[in-house]
Amino acid sequence: MALLEVTNLRRSFGGLVAVQQVSFAVKAGQIKAIIGPNGAGKTTLFNLICGLLKPETGQISFRGESLSGLEPYRVAQAGVSRTFQNPSLFPRLSVLENVMVGRHRRTCREFFACAFRWPGQAREERAIRQAALAQLEYIGLAYLAAYPAGGLAFGQRRMVELGRALAAEPEMLLLDEPASGLNTREKEELGELIRKIRQRGITILLVEHDMSLVMGLSDEILVMNNGMPIAEGPPAMVQNDPKVIGVYLGVTKE
């Protein structure tokens, strides 16, 4: 059964239709990529799924429940974590604290319990710290735990952001151009990490420009152009699709 199912999604800004007639499904345990030229509507589609934008028509269902129209925090609580094209860490918090914020969804103590150290709060706090440290070790950045996140290099910020998203133990991970701004070596490491994450049973949907990464990594690819899907399937099939080649190489249909 499909984990995420998008049906006939449409969204426009003024007169510009950014996304229309988009339907696709992501199966549990899959790595699925969305590709397409600039302005194809990939980021709009992403923002529709995670709640930053509301769809005009269409349905998004996750584990059989509707996500469409929900606030972003509700989408996150439902089990969809995301990263941003420009890694958006909380710069004044330490790296460890950033990842600890990722545990928010999995913990429950509120204002009263935290202010008065209600029984159980200290235990939860320790558990949050341990889980966050474990997550940092998993992505290999435990040695950065105490540094302020604002002072990290670009590639490190991206990895910490990934760790923060993983700390929520999501069912599904949305990655918005995870390889942009990374050098070749970092891209390879990222590819390895994404495979490892999938082995933990987390389903991954990513938007990416880097073709070598996408082709090597994905089980399925959705190609978009002008706000509409033009091809969908395994990498080998998509690569040889004349419509896809046309879009990417600028060949016009005769």
């Binding site: 941003f84 909380f90 918090l93 204002f111 002072g151 490190q156 490491e189």
Partner: protein, 362 residues
């Protein structure tokens, strides 16, 4: 004469401590949740006035109403005499305190709910307008004593022999009570900011979209922090009113609200101890009259200087400077410069990195 002067200072110190409670509440809202409130003076006044009106307004016409004996038995209503020996029936201070807190909670929710669902400085606008409205309403209302405010607010017997009032015999205990309240507030807020909730608030401050993507209900967290700080201001107002025996409409004025923002900034916004110490000290100076007729101008100047020169507050750079001096005194150069260099040094980049690309997309 010596003794009188000590008591006089003590009174002003106690008042300054109550004002510090307001600044501490602002510290949570501004320093952690990243929202600006220009209406905390109004919450202070609303708390104080509610308590003052209820505890001084005579309701003896209710004397023969059926539930009155029950209210008396539950200590919600008390029969007492005013300064001239007239017998009164008024709401008890404890009941008035609870009523003030409930009222301020409701009002803060009403103002905060729409303003905090939006991003940006809507809260500052809404609270500024709210402060002006409260100020004008107090000035126009005969129930609130118009420009004179309310006097003759009775003593508040807390528990045991502890009494909130301005009488000479109670000065020392009131000073310690105010100290205890400030310490308790610092402790509670310290717990709060070093927890899941505190991290969530700072996350909202640093990036609301990213915070929401972590499952944080940003609107609700901002609202809760705002209401909590409004309640702190109201609590300070209630204690202050019982301590000084009255309250005036200037407490709700925009100048007072801006002063609280300046005090929070002077302590370093995110620094609870700094805010407690600095706001007590500065308000003490102000209450002693050391700033003369430049009182409001001094606080305005503090705010402008801090915002432009030391947004993190004056204490942090001062502390670093003192540490530097101490380090030089102990061992020439070495230890202190090493200690200071360590956090600034960037950790080794991911992997064995060579030239790092900036932000360019592939």
């Amino acid at each position: 004469m010596r003794a009188t002067e000590t008591e006089y200072c003590l009174t002003q110190l106690t008042m300054a401590l109550y004002y510090a409670l307001v600044a501490l509440g602002l510290c949570l809202v501004m320093g952690y949740a990243g929202q600006v409130s220009l209406g905390h003076g109004a919450f202070f006044a609303l708390g104080g006035y509610t308590s003052a009106v209820l505890t001084t307004h005579d309701v003896s016409w209710l004397q023969n109403a059926p539930p009155t004996p029950w209210f008396k038995a539950a200590h919600l209503l008390v029969a007492r005499q005013d300064l001239y020996g007239n017998s009164l029936l008024t709401v008890s201070p404890w009941a008035a305190f609870l009523a003030a807190m409930l009222l301020v909670m409701a009002v803060a929710c009403l103002i905060g709910y729409p303003a905090l669902r939006l991003r940006g400085h809507y809260l500052a606008m809404a609270t500024l307008a709210f402060g002006v409205i409260v100020n004008k309403m107090l000035l126009a209302s005969s129930l609130a004593g118009a420009a004179d405010g309310i006097n003759g607010v009775p003593e508040w017997h807390l528990a045991g022999g502890l009494t909130v009032c301005g009488k000479g015999w109670a000065r020392a205990q009131n000073y310690y009570l105010a100290c205890a309240l400030v310490l308790l507030t610092v402790l509670v807020l310290h717990n709060l900011v070093h927890s899941r909730v505190g991290r969530a608030l700072q996350a909202i401050h640093d990036g609301e979209t990213a915070a929401a993507a972590m499952g944080i209900n940003t609107a609700r967290y901002k609202l809760k922090a705002f209401v909590l700080s409004a309640l702190l201001a109201a609590m300070a107002g209630v204690f202050f009113t019982h301590y000084t025996g009255g309250i005036g409409p200037s407490e709700a004025g925009a100048f007072k609200s801006v002063r609280y923002v300046a005090l929070a900034a002077a302590g370093g916004l995110g620094n609870l101890w700094g805010v407690a110490v600095m706001s007590t000290a500065l308000n003490y100076c102000s209450l002693r009259g050391w700033f003369g007729s430049y009182d409001n101008a001094v606080f305005g100047a503090i705010l402008i200087l801090l915002v432009s020169l030391a947004p993190e507050g004056p204490l942090k750079p001062l502390g670093a400077w003192l540490k530097g001096l101490a380090g030089k005194g102990l061992a020439p150069g070495a230890s202190s410069s090493l200690r200071r260099a360590a956090p600034r040094e960037r950790p080794a980049a991911l992997g064995a990195s060579e030239g790092r690309p900036g932000h360019g997309a592939a």
